[in-house]
């Protein structure tokens, strides 16, 4: 549902390469994210105040630099970050890191950091490795469109967090059930905390996605006089909303609470990846980036 209006699949976009991996902001962001990840891992292995504070501080600086990288990229290609797939991926990585940071501040736990940061770095690399190219502006923009895209990306970031939390839950659950806590097992949040954190992330994701979808539908109506013209992206996004609402409901029921709900949350995230990649790239005619 988020994304860019496409223009003549054959490449009417400008071929001028303006923003490469060599951008100082990109390199600096990457360095700070990598340093933050290293310290998060260090802190998980050997908890220390210095490593913990260092990890969070580097992440905050990385976020600031990432913002500047996004800004520089937007200025150079004369488009907002979500006007192309790579820009939207970068925004996704930024929101993922920001969401994680909020989660860390609220729960005062750094044990999840080593598992979120690799995704942030991976997506950031994916977003900034290719050369950025200027794209034409979509047929209509404005705050509603911006809301639509940003809220949807925020939703996917929240789902990504719940995905990571669910993986940690399953690993920790396996360790506890098999009496193999080991060194790291004592440092993870409690299962109950992980479950609640995952559920609240999904709740934030569902609300953002519902609001983002609504904004998108209204925007489409204003633009073309109809809410939906059968675009597969809308169907897949609605399906994602449905399965995550289903998770929210099932995770509180007797049969599903615990490991099963976490497995479901991981399964649901596969749809998010599918929507972000295959649907955007090949299936949608309305939400394609290129």
């Amino acid at each position: 549902m988020f994304g860019q209006w496409t223009f003549a699949a054959g490449g009417t976009c400008c071929r001028e390469c303006v923003h490469k991996m060599t951008s100082p902001y990109v390199i600096a962001t990457l360095l700070f994210y990598a340093a933050s990840l290293a310290l998060y891992i260090w802190n998980l292995r050997e908890p220390s105040r210095a490593a913990g504070i260092g990890a969070t501080s580097f992440l905050v600086i990385g976020l600031g630099l990432h913002y500047l990288a996004l800004l520089a990229r937007s200025r150079l290609i004369h488009a907002v970050p979500y006007d192309d797939l790579f820009g939207s991926l970068s925004l996704f990585a930024w929101l993922l890191a920001a969401t994680y940071l909020c989660l860390e501040a609220i729960h005062r736990r750094r044990a999840v950091g080593p598992f979120v940061l690799p995704i942030v770095i991976g997506v950031f690399l994916l977003a900034h490795l290719p050369e950025a190219r200027a794209v034409k502006a979509p047929p209509a923009q404005g705050p509603l469109f911006a809301f639509h895209v940003t809220l949807n990306i925020l939703a996917y970031s929240a789902f990504a967090i719940s995905f990571v939390l669910s993986i940690i839950f399953l690993v920790q659950n396996w360790r506890l059930r098999n009496r193999k806590l080991g060194v790291v097992g004592w440092r993870f949040p409690a299962l109950d905390v992980l479950e609640r954190m995952a559920r609240s992330s999904v709740l934030i994701g569902c609300i953002s996605l519902a609001a983002g979808m609504t904004a998108g539908l209204i925007w489409a109506h204003r633009l073309e006089g109809k809410y939906w013209d059968g675009d597969p992206k809308v169907i897949v996004t609605a399906l994602i909303l449905l399965i995550y609402v289903g998770y929210e409901f099932l995770s509180r029921t007797a049969a599903w609470r615990g490991a099963r709900a976490s497995a479901l949350c991981i399964f649901n995230f596969m749809f998010v990846i599918f929507s972000y990649s295959i649907v955007n790239r090949y299936l949608s005619h309305f939400h394609r980036y290129f």
């Binding site: 059930r177 409690a190 109950d192 029921t253 615990g258 490991a259």
Partner: protein, 425 residues
């Protein structure tokens, strides 16, 4: 600014001797008062726990063999001869005394490595001494630093985080599953000594909803009454399983008292909420296949013992990290101490030079009657300015450069060199 420490602990003395040398709070106050009134110490603090009795003090500047004097005092205070104490007392001075205290507060010197209670005992001992005015700038600084070391070691290392008792391990496992225990419920099956240990830890960790079952109801009533729980009749065991999040069993039975069928039924009744079963009974009280039920976590005594052993090893492996924190704080304390000593020496030196200038100016100006009062004042002011210049630059360097203070290790030598009075700063 010498620091002395005289003491004994579980490593150097038998329990019998530790008992005889222990200080009650009243005795600690009396001992501190006597040490000061007899002029042996200017600052003092008694730290007395079941595993150690230690006396920290700052002697008078002109005292000689203050450690020996404290040792004699301690022996006479407890009506013991030095022969009886021979080999049991340890003496530490200055940096060794500081390091010893920091190791104590970090739990490195405890019988149970990394135990948490000692930090509270150090805090209490310091607070009492502070309230009575028995401490001064040196011991205040030293004990405040010790408390900081204790906190840092506990927050930055895993020396004290991992449980090393079977009962506490069970409770910590519950926290790995449920998080905070405040809103969770525990069912205690069996009211013996082991159960009591678990209940004690559970209540310490905030659990409020507690039910106790025992074949002998009187024991259950007693345990429940002491920890604010409810008693459930033994006949209601099966129905009672629907209620808790945590079940601790410790009863003598030849067959498991909790079977898979019973737990499956209770899990269905309680909506499959996570259930932790801690089986401390030998033979086991919970059937081993209960652990296969969805959302249940079963630990028996062997599982917990293995965790305890792993945790003990993990604690030992944390010692170097704790020692590094201690080194850092010892260094910091010694810098502060050297700074204070340097300040005192320079202050005394300045006073002496000012006094000498006064005498010198008066003596020399007496033979110069042709000078006016203004000229005399000007000469005096010039000499004063010269002195300030001579003394201020080294003073600033001394205060600002820790390396310089380290080089000038013995400030007493400077005192002797300039024949400075031994006044306490």
């Amino acid at each position: 600014m010498e620091i002395v420490l005289i003491g004994l602990n579980h490593r150097t003395a038998s329990v019998d001797l530790r008992e005889r040398l222990a200080f009650t709070p009243e005795q600690a106050r009396e001992a501190a008062e006597q040490l000061r009134s007899r002029g042996i110490l200017e600052e003092s603090l008694v730290l007395s726990t079941c595993n150690r009795s230690e006396l920290y003090g700052v002697p008078r500047e002109d005292a000689t063999d203050s450690a020996g004097a404290v040792e004699l005092f301690v022996a006479s205070f407890h009506q013991l001869s030095l022969i009886e104490l021979n080999g049991s007392l340890y003496r530490h001075r200055d940096s060794q005394a500081v390091r010893h205290l920091f190791r104590v507060s970090a739990g490195l010197d405890s019988m149970l490595l990394g135990e948490a209670e000692i930090l509270g005992q150090v805090r209490d001992a310091y607070q009492i001494a502070l309230d009575r005015g028995e401490t001064g700038p040196v011991l205040n600084r030293m004990f405040q630093a010790a408390l900081e070391v204790g906190k840092r070691v506990r927050s930055e290392t895993e020396l004290g985080t991992r449980p090393v008792s079977v009962a506490f391990s069970g409770v910590k496992l519950a926290e790995r599953i449920f998080g905070k225990l405040n809103n969770h419920r525990a069912l205690i099956v069996g009211a013996g000594a082991t159960s009591e240990q678990v209940v004690r830890h559970l209540t310490d960790r905030g659990i409020k909803q507690l039910r106790v079952l025992n074949r002998t109801p009187e024991h259950a009533v007693d345990l429940a009454a002491r920890f604010g729980g409810e008693v459930v009749p033994w006949e209601n065991l099966s129905a009672a399983l629907d209620w808790p999040d945590l079940i601790v069993t410790s009863v003598s039975a030849s067959e498991p008292i909790l079977t898979r069928a019973m737990i499956e039924r209770s899990m269905a009744a309680r909506g499959n909420r996570a259930l932790l079963l801690i089986d401390l009974g030998v033979p086991r009280n919970v059937a081993s296949d209960v652990g296969d039920i969805y959302n249940t976590y079963l630990y028996n005594i062997d599982d917990l013992t293995e965790i305890v052993e792993q945790n003990k090893k993990a604690r030992v492996s944390e010692i170097p990290r704790a020692e590094a924190i201690i080194d850092e704080h010892v260094e910091k304390f010694l810098h502060w101490q050297a700074g204070v000593a340097a300040g005192a020496v320079l202050g005394d030196l300045r006073k002496k030079l000012v006094a000498e200038r006064e005498a010198f100016v008066q003596e020399r100006l007496a033979s110069m009657p042709h000078l006016s009062d203004a000229d005399r004042a000007q000469v005096a002011a010039m000499l004063q300015e010269l002195l300030e210049r001579v003394i201020i630059t080294p003073a600033e360097r001394m205060r600002g450069i820790p390396e310089l203070r380290r080089k000038l290790q013995n400030f007493e030598a400077i005192r002797d060199l300039f024949r400075l009075d031994r006044e306490k700063p």
